[in-house]
Symmetry: C2
Subunit: 259 residues, 2 copies
């Protein structure tokens, strides 16, 4: 059974990709909806929260953990790997490798939360694989609240202008590939794509799900269970936006401060 | 000495009004920047966080507490009053009374976070004072992230469209008075005012500061001290946006989960 966690609901876009590959995958998801967002917080706070999230999943006896959160994957992987004695996978590696494969002109953009962009995680990994690639990063702090507010349609003027506000500079840089470095962003992929015509978008959840599958970590074992640290009703109401299908599985509450 | 707390930085708009009335007011501010925002969280979480915030201020031996947060003032006042043996004042009462005085056509709008609007706190208090007043409420979840992202200018298209998105319905209802039911909102008052021309805006921080002064709770005793639950540098960098002047006072970090 695989454990998946995120700072909030965005990680469900990774769950969506896992269920595409294996519809009956044994899976426990934890979304830290009581403390979302992580991306504007300090490094110490992010690490502290991430260790609590992982301890909760470990207490459920999962065989491996996917950190389906760009912010945590960019900030807390060494600490998580040190604490856990099961495989733990972040979204950065698979996503960065996919971007290196996808680019033709060697110019790659990275968008994410402030914490993710400041960490330089995607850029460092891309350049470890291929030092000749030029990268251009942009923090987009309003994308997460826009998605959570339901304003993710490419036809919404607020969404369109906010996407242009953040992405105009990347367009000028003539990138041909863009990493969606936050698991919320696939929900507004169409709006992002319109602001950057012709650019290949790399979905971190999809790349990581494929990596899990390649590693043999996705097993048929009885479906998904979901846990959150705030209202279970709110989560159940919004989950289909991220999953692209109705939520199928029990939703429970966790007092995450206790872990 | 007065204690002031908020879920984040918005409460500084109330501090600004206190310092306008008494520039050397003895004041301890706590902003829960490590757990902001409260307004989209569940009632239980908000009450739990508010009690921790108040315990921290009480440990600093303040004489009274101003809850400079629309969400907490709308959700946790009975619990706070039960726990504390010093005066504790929320922003709802003074603000609602000011709106009742200000309206001429008896049609008052209320904007705030989802938690504030769902609580019905302002509406209930307005109708307790004058049952003939008609009220119209609107949650505006994107206003807080816009202010925190620096997009609060009335000339910014994103801000303008977001204000119109939320406020068009209140305009149709022909309100003549609007309660800014979140302490972040005064920062974007000009954009809000342009979406609702001719409407009187009621600033909850200003009304509450006046009430504190009337109650004799503002004392000259050596200036302000600030505490936050996330990066002190980030706070110091943004504080002037809310205070309308440079930050003057020490900024310390608090591990608020421990209170």
């Amino acid at each position: 059974m695989i454990g998946v966690f995120d700072s909030g609901m965005g990680g469900l876009t990774a769950v969506k990709e896992i269920l595409k590959l294996k519809p009956d995958a044994g899976l426990i998801f934890f979304g830290d909806t009581g403390r979302v967002p992580y991306g504007t917080r300090s490094r110490e706070t992010i690490i502290n929260y991430a260790l609590q999230d992982a301890r909760f999943l470990a207490s459920k006896r999962v065989d491996a953990i996917l950190v389906a959160c760009g912010t945590v994957s960019s900030t807390a992987m060494p600490e998580l790997k040190k604490m856990l004695d099961i495989p733990v996978l972040g979204v950065v590696e698979a996503t960065a490798e996919a971007a290196v494969k996808a680019t033709k002109n060697g110019r790659v953009g990275v968008i994410g939360t402030p914490a993710t962009v400041n960490s330089g995680s995607y850029v460092n990994y891309i350049n470890a694989v291929d030092p000749s690639i030029e990268t251009f990063s942009q923090a987009c702090p309003l994308f997460v609240p826009l998605v959570e507010e339901g304003l993710f349609s490419a036809d919404c003027d607020i969404t369109r202008l906010t996407a242009e506000h953040y992405l105009a500079r990347l367009r000028e840089k003539e990138i041909d590939t863009l990493i969606l470095g936050c698991t919320h962003y696939p929900v507004m992929a169409e709006a992002i794509g319109r602001a950057l015509p012709g650019v290949t978008l790399i979905n971190s959840g999809a790349e990581s799900a494929r990596r899990l599958s390649d590693m043999g970590l996705l097993k048929d074992s009885g479906g998904a269970e979901y846990f959150v640290s705030d209202s279970t009703e709110h989560f159940a109401g919004l989950a289909s936006r991220f999953l692209g299908m109705p939520l199928n599985g029990r939703v429970g509450y966790v007092e995450i401060d206790k872990y």
